[in-house]
Amino acid sequence: MGEAFWNPVFVSLRVVVVASILSFLLALIVAWFLKKRRFKGKVFVETFLMLPLVLPPTVIGFGLLVIFGRNSWIGSWFEQLFGQPIVFTYLAAVIAASIVAFPLVFQMLVNGFEAVDEELEAAARQMGAGECKVFIYVTLPLAWRSVISGYMLGFARALGEFGATLMFAGSIFGVTQTMPTSIYIAVESGNTEMAYYWVISIVIFAFALL
């Protein structure tokens, strides 16, 4: 098994490691922020953040094309700045994977933080902790299991991402062609043997994650 097998594996890992950390940190910050505050439209914001969970990947891909495409102002600004569009780049694959992973991580963290007994946080405040210390010394360690499984779920979801990536980042060998995309292309072109290898490695990986 040479380059043809390993290249998509490495592309997948490069995309997924960055995307999972990105979505995790973002989810951590947003979850903490939303936990502390009460404001009008909070429910709307939360619903909006969860949207990628129920939307088809092609809808997300479409949305990403609209927002970051060459005709959008973000897209054209980026193209002016870096001399190339976002679409069909490594960055696009990372963005797509992050977006689909985010709501899973976010939901896990919110549930985890909510399950922490408020009295334990009140006690810390009472003993002399500011909000930040309460989060670091009490909330985070007590929600540890949710935090870990939130990250794992995000990782798995980013690794499995197919539809949105295909539309927004394409499947350029060596750049954006991840394992799921490779499986699709291999099957379409009748190269079942290669597909088998990728499928087996992903299944083993998934079992380990669960």
């Binding site: 007994d117 009295e119 334990l120 009140a122 006690a123 810390a124 405040r125 009472q126 003993m127 002399g128 902790a129 500011g130 210390k133 010394y137 009490v138 360690p141 007590l142 540890w144």
Partner: protein, 367 residues
């Protein structure tokens, strides 16, 4: 060590949902104050306002003369013991006790010395390396206390700290907390719904109901001179007996046939109620079935049939009915009184109280 002053404090959770109304109280240094009342009376809310965990809607709170309404909890230097102990499951006993000191950046040796001292006082020396999960209920309670005393704060706040312990342990921890207070003399505010804890622990009791203070006073004073029927019924176990009736001819009539004679001196202040309805309140231990009492007090006794005779060991409680009111009497045990027995109950009218039947307020009598 601290003095606290509550100046017209109100707490409303939403428009028109008042949890605490016009709370006024001065607490002196070294006092052991108990807030007592049924659930929903506002006692815990008041405690959390002192800790800074609830905002004060209206009025002013002073600690040692300083206005603290806007002081965040971490700067109030007050230690609170929570009802469910609020121990951190991911820290061992040492770290739980030391947590408040670490947050305040005490030196390592200082922390060690203080935790050691607290654990010694509370008998926790052998458990410092354990996680809270591996402790019994009583030991957890002790860790929660340790966490409070180690900081040597201005005041202790305790929110029903014994309510999760079983009956035996509750009695034991009660006396340990009293001893701790004798030793440290730190101003303490203790919240409970258990009138026994209030009576046995407090230097002063604050009885609350529906967010209003009903009475403030020493245990003995509250027990002997309840301000109203609520306090009379709430403090003391079994509860004070209440009977509706009429004052006529220096007697209390709860029906047409059996008048109870009111002592001359006491009747003086009741003259204005002559012919009017009134509520009589009398404690179960002021009803007597001993022959000696009945012989002495011929004019204040009633024939009753016993519904239940509960023998708790050192005393017996008789339940009976007088004029559709359940009446409880505490008598000597082992007299072998049992269900269905007929007997005479004497009312010690020197100790009876009279309440305005509309407002429930006690009518003050010369004794």
């Amino acid at each position: 060590m601290a003095e606290l002053k509550f100046d017209h404090i109100y707490k409303r959770f939403a428009e028109n949902v008042a949890a605490v109304t016009d709370f006024n109280l001065d607490i002196s240094d070294e006092e052991f104050i108990v807030f007592v009342g049924p659930s929903g009376c506002g006692k815990s809310t008041t405690l959390r306002m002192i800790a800074g965990l609830e905002e004060i809607t209206e009025g002013s709170l002073y600690i040692d003369g300083d206005y603290v309404n806007d002081t965040p909890p971490k700067n109030r230097d007050i230690a609170m013991v929570f009802q469910n102990y609020a121990l951190y499951p991911h820290m061992d006993v040492f770290d739980n006790i030391a947590f408040g000191l670490k947050l305040r950046k005490f030196k390592k040796e200082d922390i060690k010395a203080r935790v050691k001292n607290a654990s010694h006082i509370l008998g926790l020396d052998d458990y410092l390396q354990r996680k809270p999960k591996a402790l019994s209920g009583g030991q957890r309670q002790r860790v929660a206390l340790g966490r409070a005393i180690v900081r040597n704060p201005k005041a202790f706040l305790m929110d029903e700290p014994l309510s999760n312990l079983d009956a035996k342990l509750r009695v034991q921890m009660r006396s340990e907390i009293i001893k701790l207070h004798h030793r440290l003399k730190t101003t303490t505010i203790y919240v409970t719904h258990d009138q026994t804890e209030a009576m046995t622990m407090a230097s002063r009791i604050v009885v609350m109901k529906d967010g209003y203070i009903q009475q403030i006073g020493k245990p003995r004073q509250v027990y002997l001179y309840p301000e109203n029927t609520f306090v009379g019924g709430f403090i003391g176990s079994p509860s004070m007996n209440f009977l509706e009736g009429t004052i006529r001819n220096q007697h209390f009539w709860f029906n047409e046939h059996v008048p109870l004679k009111i002592p001359e001196k006491r009747f003086h202040d009741l003259r204005q109620y002559d012919g009017k309805t009134i509520t009589l309140g009398i404690r179960p231990e002021d009803l007597h079935e001993e022959q000696a009492f009945l012989d002495k007090m011929q004019k204040s006794k009633v024939n009753v049939m016993i519904d239940i005779a509960e023998i708790t060991g050192s005393e017996a409680v008789l339940y009976t009915n007088i004029g559709n009111q359940e009446i409880r009497a505490v008598v000597n045990p082992w007299r072998n009184i049992s269900q269905g027995d007929q007997l005479e109950l004497g009312f010690d009218m020197r100790k009876a109280h009279f309440f305005n039947p509309d407002t429930g307020v006690r009518i003050k009598l010369a004794n």
